[in-house]
């Protein structure tokens, strides 16, 4: 047990030193990088390591007769989470989400320190000491709180109420509900049932399983599958259409959506928000192919009421591309990102 706790303490101390060093810039901030594609798991894994580390440190300090008071354990733990979210995770997390995470962490700390009566007594003892003010130091603290707390609350209230010049928060609906059908080049397409005519197997029949088997692999590198190279001059059928879609993409779309379809094209940063990142699992991977067909065809100007605040400069591509070209480019986007269009069967 002691060996495990010592290891935990070591991890905790090393982790804290590393993180603080990276935050204040003593050591390069990319010493331990968040690896693209594994970030979500990595963040949770790091937090697990830190919790293990804190447990170890607490255990070791208790063993050495220098137990860290429960009150300060709780406060430090919460402060750590807030600082971790603020400085470790990049790009910066918007305040609304940090506020949610911070509140949940605070509740979790409360649940921990009050899970049993003994811990709860230990935790609230310093608070009670200040309130009782039986010593000179505590009396001073109590007066300090009496003055500082109203000032702080007043400050927060003033800050909340004072008129600001920054743009207001917008609850943007990224993927508004599509219409039941859409009319492109005079033909009506029912979004629930329409299919991409180029997603076909060698027999020329619609076959999503076949196309799914030939997309690039997800994860780092996004490598092409063996014998599934659309740029092979002999490629036929599905792969040939993917290549044609790719040509259309690089002639029309990549300026904004980027070479790697990650929304970071040449002109991307002229817009706010920047164009959609197709490699993110929250965009095309969540949607039916017909949804993308509709959005490409109608563009930002064709967003429904629900798409408030219509923050999209996407052109209505039906004015520039044929229906076939739109289907092909949509198929290329799925092929390149390694995602599968959503189906409902």
């Amino acid at each position: 047990m002691k060996a495990i706790m010592s290891l935990g303490a070591l991890i905790g101390v090393a982790g804290l030193l590393l993180l603080s060093g990276m935050i204040v810039g003593i050591i390069p901030s990319d010493t331990v990088r968040l690896i693209e594609g594994y970030m979500p798991v990595q963040v949770i894994a790091e937090l697990i390591l830190f919790v293990a580390g804190f447990t170890g440190i607490s255990y070791m300090m208790s063993s050495m007769g220098m137990a860290f008071p429960r009150f300060w354990q709780g406060i430090s733990c919460w402060a750590f989470v807030l600082l971790y979210l603020k400085f470790r995770v990049y790009p910066p997390i918007p305040f609304s989400v940090r506020a949610m995470y911070g509140t949940v962490s605070l509740v979790a700390v409360f649940m921990w320190v009050s899970a049993n009566e003994e811990d709860w007594q230990k935790f609230k003892q310093p608070i009670m000491n200040v309130l009782d003010a039986k010593t000179g130091g505590n009396r001073l603290l109590r007066y300090a709180y009496l003055i500082i707390l109203p000032i702080l609350i007043g400050g927060f209230s003033y800050n909340a109420m004072v008129p600001k010049s920054e743009e207001p928060i917008e609850l943007r609906t990224v993927h508004p509900a599509p219409p039941a059908s859409t009319k492109v080049h005079g033909k009506t397409y029912t979004l629930q049932t329409s299919q991409n005519p180029y997603r076909v197997n060698p027999e020329g029949k619609y076959d999503q399983e076949y196309s799914n088997a030939n997309i690039v692999e997800q994860g780092m590198g996004r490598l092409m599958k063996p014998n599934a190279n659309p740029w092979d001059k002999d490629a036929q059928g599905y792969l040939k259409y993917v290549r044609e879609g790719g040509e259309i993409f690089y002639q029309n779309c990549h300026f904004c959506h980027g070479d790697n379809l990650n929304g970071r094209g040449l002109h991307a940063f002229a817009f706010n928000p920047i164009p959609a990142n197709f490699t993110d699992p929250g965009t095309i991977a969540q949607l039916q192919e017909t949804f993308i067909f509709w959005r490409v065809s109608k563009g930002g100007i064709g967003l429904p009421n629900e798409g408030f605040p219509w923050a999209s400069v996407m052109p209505p591509w039906e004015q520039h591309l044929t229906v076939d070209e739109i289907w092909k480019v949509v198929m290329f986007e799925y092929w390149h990102t390694g995602y599968y269009p959503r189906t409902w069967d």
Partner: protein, 637 residues
């Protein structure tokens, strides 16, 4: 002897007669229900001359359009008479209050049935008496709430008739026979409830007790059918069937009732009502606990709160799965509706809903950890609670991460796009399924710890059993998390299917680990008694929190379900042309829900107070104790 047999025969005959009378209105009205498909040929021939044919918008069957088309309303005093106030808000208030009380009075008799049954089958006479008393206390609260439900139902109908006459006229023209059956069943429900309540003492012992118990079954069957019928109206408004595209009734009332969303709504509402009812009774017990002056009272209300919480949580655990099924059916019915709910206009309300679900589970776990404090010997588990807190917290954070993040344009720019590379992954369904299953599995683990809190297993295979349970839970966590990650690498339709093994993993923890734990704890050595009443006050606030979260969530989900129709009274059939055919802001909706919750709790406190007026203290027999606990108080009746 002969007299006893006669009584038995008479009571059975009375019960059968009661059931027969209850079913009579349905049997009588059946032939007139469907004059479409099942009508006699003569009626059909006559109908063909008068009526056009129409095609069912959902079932795609053809029938005679015997109903009037849905009215095309215009904004004005004829279709939308009003006060100088938003009619929709008045209706929202009346509807929500009726629903709260309706849910409560439907759920509590189910609890009574379960608790009374436990009292009948238990061999310990003292415990049997406790259970019987508890069931009686429950139904007593329910009785006052029942009157209020009926009054609120009346207010609701008057609100509909006076503020939305065109819409209500259309709805009642479609559901005419259903509404009459509903009214008759309401009478039957009232009659059965009063006999059940006032006959409690008369039918206390022996065979008559079983008859009394059977009446609770009948009561609940009627209550459930009532709810199903009411659900058919909202099901029709969301996913109409049995009418053509002009909204003309095609003669088959079953089609109108059995819409695409009726079944999942029924299941979701039953479970939701039960969880809500458990929460309200637990809050009542917590309130009484906090107000108690004696150890006896504290012991009784501590026990009552625990039972109510356990029953509520038993139905809370499957509730997310029922909700998942409902959403799946919504997507299958109309993709736009699903996206509006979960990815579009109402997505942020779903984040609030996820937050509330998390609060429910967090409160439950917290209560259980506090409850360990009233057991001697449970200290060995308390030191590990911090790890459960961490696991719960991680699951919760993933579960509430929004897909559409609220941010200022400056933050949007700093983030470099709408999608965050870390949070974006938590904001999608695959991660959320993992999050909620981790939360539920941890709750099950907390329950297992609670069940064995003051006990040490004495079975010969206890070491093996402990290791097996530990490995089982560890594997469950690994499986749930692994499937959540794997979900990113497969097509969406397969990913949706992954929820099945995830849920199966969670449920297998519930269904295998509980019995295994019980088997291990059979004849276990008790480290100390459960000291009922010796629980922290924080636990009681957790129960109140649980109930408040249930109430708030019910209000929220009702609002979401109703809002998804957007500007339709009846989806794609009858348009809402009132000035209020827009979706409220999130802030307004949240305030309105909070007001409804506050009003409900103030009014139910009044109901509790009324209930307490009739309670008289009875002397507690020395034997009548919760095993190993402090003496329990009993109220006379």
């Amino acid at each position: 002897m002969g007299r006893v047999a006669g009584k038995k025969l008479f009571s059975i005959m009375a019960l059968v007669a009661m059931v027969g009378l209850l079913l009579l209105p349905i049997a009588v009205s059946l032939p007139s229900l469907a004059i479409g498909a099942d009508a006699p040929d003569a009626v059909k021939k006559e109908g063909e001359q008068k009526y056009e044919k129409g095609r069912d918008v959902y079932y795609k069957t053809e029938g005679l359009a015997i109903g009037a088309p849905a009215p095309k309303t215009v904004d004005g005093p004829k279709d939308y008479p009003r006060y100088n106030f938003e009619s929709r808000v008045l209706l929202w208030f009346a509807n929500q209050q009726h629903l709260y009380y309706g849910s409560f009075v439907l759920a509590v008799p189910i609890f009574c049935m379960v608790i009374e049954f436990m009292g009948v089958v238990t061999k310990d006479k003292a415990m049997a008496k406790r259970y019987d008393q508890l069931a009686y206390d429950f139904i007593k609260i329910s009785l006052t709430a029942y009157s209020l439900t009926a009054i609120l139902g009346g207010i609701l109908i008057f609100t509909f008739l006076t503020l939305y006459p065109a819409f209500f006229g259309y709805l009642s023209s479609i559901f005419r026979p259903v509404m009459h059956i509903y009214a008759l069943m309401f009478v039957a429900e009232s009659g059965t409830l009063y006999i059940y309540y006032y006959g409690w003492d008369k039918m206390r012992d022996g065979f008559l007790k079983w008859i009394h118990l059977s009446m609770s079954v009948i009561l609940n069957v009627i209550g459930t059918l009532l709810m199903f019928l009411a659900n058919s109206w909202i099901g029709f408004m969301m996913s109409p069937a049995g009418v053509d595209e002009q909204g003309r009734f095609l003669g088959n009332i079953w089609h109108v009732i059995h819409t695409a969303l009726w079944n999942p709504l029924n299941v979701h509402r039953i479970l939701g009502n039960m969880a809500f009812g458990g929460g309200v009774v637990a809050a009542y017990a917590a309130y009484k606990f906090l107000a108690s002056k004696t150890d006896e009272d504290r012991a009784h209300y501590d026990w009552m709160g625990y039972i109510a919480m356990a029953l509520g949580v038993a139905f809370l655990i499957p509730l997310p799965f029922a909700g998942y099924w409902l959403m799946r059916e919504v997507y299958a019915y109309r993709q736009q509706m699903g996206i509006t709910l979960m990815g579009g206009l109402l997505a942020w309300l779903f984040i609030i809903q996820a937050t509330m679900i998390g609060i429910l589970f967090l409160s439950t776990n917290y209560y259980l950890w506090q409850a360990l404090g009233r057991m001697r010997g449970a200290e060995k588990y308390q030191r590990y609670i911090k790890y459960l807190v961490f696991i719960l917290c991680c699951g919760y954070l993933v579960f509430i991460t929004p897909h559409t993040i609220v941010m200022t344009p400056a933050e949007l720019k700093a983030m470099g796009g709408q999608q965050h590379p870390v949070l974006g992954n938590y904001g999608v369904m695959s991660a959320k399924n993992g999050g909620i299953n981790v939360i539920i599995t941890t709750t099950i683990l907390s329950f297992v710890w609670y069940m064995r809190g003051n006990k040490v297993s004495t079975v010969s295979w206890s070491k093996f059993g402990n290791i097996f349970m530990g490995v089982f839970f560890a594997c469950a966590y690994v499986n749930i998390i692994w499937l959540a990650i794997y979900g990113y690498y497969i097509p969406a339709n397969v990913r949706v299917g992954l929820s099945v093994p995830q849920v199966a993993t969670t449920l297998s923890c519930l269904f295998f680990m509980f019995p295994l734990n019980s088997a291990m704890m059979k004849g276990a050595k008790q480290m100390g008694a459960i000291e009922w009443g010796k629980i922290s006050v924080r636990s009681q606030y957790a129960l109140i929190m649980l109930a408040t979260a249930f109430t708030w969530m019910m209000g929220l989900m009702g609002y979401i379900r109703s809002s998804v129709r957007l500007f339709w009274h009846v989806n794609e059939i009858m348009r809402d042309n009132s000035p209020w055919a827009y979706t409220h802001t999130v802030g307004f909706a949240a305030n309105m829900i909070s007001f409804n919750v506050l009003f409900f709790w103030v009014s139910i406190l009044f109901v509790f107070w009324l209930g307490s007026l009739g309670m008289k203290k009875a002397p507690v027999p020395a034997k009548a104790e919760v095993p190993g606990g402090a003496p329990q108080p009993a109220a006379g009746h």
